[in-house]
Amino acid sequence: MDTNTLILILVATVAAAVPLIFAGLGELVVEKSGVLNLGVEGMMIVGALCAFIVATETGYLWLATIVGAAAGALMALIFGFITLSLMANQVATGLALTIFGVGLSAFVGQAYTSVALDGIKNLSLPGLSSIPILGKLLFSYNILVYLALVAFMVIAWFLYKTRAGLILRAVGESPASAHALGYRVIRIRYFAVLFGGAMAGLAGAYLSLAYTPLWAEGMTAGRGWIALALVVFATWRPGRVLIGALLFGGVTIAQFHAQGLGVELPSQFLSMLPYLATIVVLVLISRDAGVIRLNAPASLGQPWHNELH
């Protein structure tokens, strides 16, 4: 394998990891507030479709990106209203949200299945992008890839360095204590849920506008579920979500190349690899109960209401 192929693989790895970075970090914030939203896949695919529709109808890619995020947030708002205001079961509601999102997008998206779209272009910085090796590795992505990295840094900083992040973690650990101190638990959880939805929508927009600029039914292909698993595997730490996303992206790309090189394995098995590898690593890493208890939001998935406590 020559240097060029290796660089290609690395660049493709980053590109494949981006939707997981967005959706995983969004879900991380949601879960840190004590809410478990299993609707990531549904929010992501609705975001992907809405972004694609706006892009083809208006031609404004920036507007399409924003609409994708907003659509994800709107889906999250449904989830938030049902689980936070009406106190329904979070697991059941999240599952329903995914089924709803996948079905709705398939129905509405029929008209857009064979539409061609000129997607978001990779950056071409005069000078920088043409530096050998580094230029390709660092300066050849589209703007959303950099946005994902900025999002990572901002979220890590927010969670561990700001007072608001401290409050968010406190709410996820013990909503009753946070309420007793005078924090508005439900409102804080709404913000977290909406943010998580917007991030999932952004992940969808990245898929349909930049990664593969087209619309296909079920195009998120389980990435929402992988993002959910990543959060657990990362034991609720942003840095590990990033690493996990890159690992998943890396195995995805590596198996494509393996197929291209004619590895003597059924292609179906190779397509399973990224999922398998992520789950294996997940299981291996989450064995340390102490680390998990220190980082896992203790109230995860439990409904909470001011009047009940």
């Binding site: 007072r163 401290l166 409050i167 973690r169 406190a170 650990e173 013990s174 009753a176 204590s177 946070a178 309420h179 007793a180 101190l181 005078g182 924090y183 109960a289 102490g290 208890r293 220190l294 980082n295 203790a298």
Partner: protein, 518 residues
């Protein structure tokens, strides 16, 4: 006490709060002067906690007036209460385990202060009031006493004019209680008023200037506790005299029924305590108590004894048989009965009826046959249990969660006792139970040992252990001290052991040398 020009610090007029099933507070009047330590005395369920939550803005009253330093106020939230100068230390601490001391305190303060500055202030306040703390430690690593200090320091940093303490001593060693009282007296001397919630009469007589007594949500009296006796306060509190216990002086102690033999076990909970070389023998006809501040290995020991977390075969002997590897059902079949601390969820299924809950442990005792439930027998069993143990419930079909804590406990204890125990392990038998039910349960345990059952009681209430036990051991840091006959020890000595002092060389069971033939 102070009848000068300054208005009272806090005055409550006609505070009323109704819940769907109960009247928590009915027309409560209460006056607290500046610098006064004011006791609010009452049994569990008397309405003390609700009243304090109203003052702290957690609960909204249905009617009544709160007058703060002469001004009528409506306290809508804890944040507003804190802004007025009201601080509260909760009975069940409202701390965040995975955050540091300083972060926990920062969450309760106004924003805009750097953590480093705050740490310096924490150190300053904690030294001034004799409440040593390390700002950078994670809360889950702290002992219960230290956690309470975090709560108190958190309140003190807000320079409160009124501090509410909800059952502050229930988790402390006697020595820690003494230190806490010193701190509270110093605060009061500086002009801070203290509302002290408790059901412990001796403490109130030692510490408080005034006492308001609640019963059934109403004020039954106001007294100067230093002029009252425990007896007269108890009469105000429960409406009758404190019951005395009947115990026979002739004790027949039989063969060893439960032997714990060099039991060591790492904790499954990363924040838990590992057990180290636990050694204890409980004989037929005696009550052995295990004292200790919570979180010192009691949970781990109880799991290892009940069979919920089996271990090495020889570590637990029941009636001479190695039972360490058996699960809970296996140990039950050897005659072990177990009453856990958590009544709902572990001792009983909250949503299920009382009779279904009887089936949970009684299925092997004729309540089911060939896998089918014997409803007539089950109903008769449950009704007999309700009657014999004076459980207040809407019949055998009432859901366990519809009962008050004391009645659930009476039912669970009754259920186990009716299943012919030979060894009974019981945790916190009277925790959260009112005085009447508590004395009934204690008397039941005494009667049981009289009938030749080996009883092991794990409790954080020292007075209770001294009342009913023949021997007492102390668990601290996962190690168990030798069990000492009650007559040969004192609350002070047990308290020191609870604090971790090791007076005796390791954990030899003194029973053999001493003999228990009282």
């Amino acid at each position: 006490m102070h009848h000068n020009e300054t208005p009272p610090r806090l005055e409550l007029r006609g505070i009323t709060k109704h819940y769907p099933a109960v009247v928590a507070n009915q027309a409560i009047d209460l006056v607290v002067q500046p610098g006064e330590i004011h006791a609010v005395l009452g049994e569990n369920g008397a309405g003390k906690s609700t009243l304090m939550k109203i003052v702290y803005g957690v609960v909204k009253p249905d009617a009544g007036q709160i007058i703060w330093n002469g001004q009528t106020v409506h306290i809508r939230s804890p944040a507003q209460a804190r802004a007025l100068g009201i601080g509260m230390v909760f009975q069940h601490f409202s701390l965040f385990d995975t955050l540091t001391v300083a972060q926990n305190i920062a969450l309760a303060l106004e924003p805009g202060q750097a953590i480093q500055e705050l740490s310096a202030r924490i150190l300053e306040v904690s030294t001034r009031y004799g409440l040593p703390l390390e700002p950078d430690r994670l809360v889950h690593l702290l002992s219960v006493g230290e956690r309470q200090r975090v709560e108190i320091v958190r309140c003190l940093l807000q320079a409160p004019q009124l501090l509410i303490m909800d059952e502050p001593t229930s988790v402390l060693t006697p020595q820690a209680v003494r230190k806490l009282f010193e701190t509270l007296r110093r605060l009061a001397a500086e002009g801070c008023s203290i509302l002290y919630i408790s059901h412990k009469l001796d403490e109130i007589r030692e510490l408080c200037h005034t006492a308001t007594v609640l019963r059934g949500g109403q004020v039954t009296g106001t007294a100067n506790p230093q002029l009252e006796t425990s007896k007269s306060l108890a009469e105000l509190m429960i409406g009758k005299e404190l019951p005395a216990y009947k115990r026979s002086q002739v004790r027949q102690v039989g063969e060893p029924r439960l032997v714990i033999n060099d039991l060591s076990r790492p904790s499954d909970d990363p924040f838990g305590t590992a057990l180290a070389h636990i050694q204890l023998t409980v004989h037929a006809g005696e009550i052995v108590g295990i004292a200790g501040v919570s979180g010192n290995g009691q949970q781990e020991l109880l799991y290892a004894l009940s069979g919920e977390k089996p271990g090495q075969s020889e570590a637990v002997l029941i009636k001479g048989q190695a039972a360490g590897q058996l699960d809970a059902a296996g140990r039950r079949s050897l005659g072990l009965r177990f009453v856990p601390e958590e009544r709902l969820g572990r001792g009983a299924v909250p949503e299920m009826s009382l009779e279904m809950n009887a089936l949970l442990t009684g299925y092997a005792n004729g309540l089911s046959k060939h896998g089918f439930i014997q409803y007539p027998k089950l109903r008769a069993f449950s009704n007999a249990c309700i009657e014999r143990f004076k459980v207040k419930a809407g019949g055998a079909t009432a859901a366990a969660k519809s009962l008050s804590g004391g009645n659930v406990q009476k039912y669970i204890v009754g259920r186990e006792l009716m299943l012919n125990p030979e060894v009974l392990v019981i945790a916190q038998p009277t925790w959260g139970v009112d005085v009447g039910a508590a004395s009934f349960i204690r008397q039941t345990l005494l009667d049981l040992s009289q009938e030749g059952v080996a009883v092991l009681v794990v409790s954080e209430e020292l007075e209770e252990l001294f009342e009913i036990c023949d021997r007492i051991a102390v668990i601290a840091g996962g190690q168990l001290s030798a069990a000492k006959p009650v007559a040969q020890t004192s609350i002070e000595e047990i308290g020191l052991l609870m604090g971790g002092a090791r007076l005796m060389a390791n954990t030899a069971d003194t029973h053999e040398q001493q003999g228990v033939g009282l």
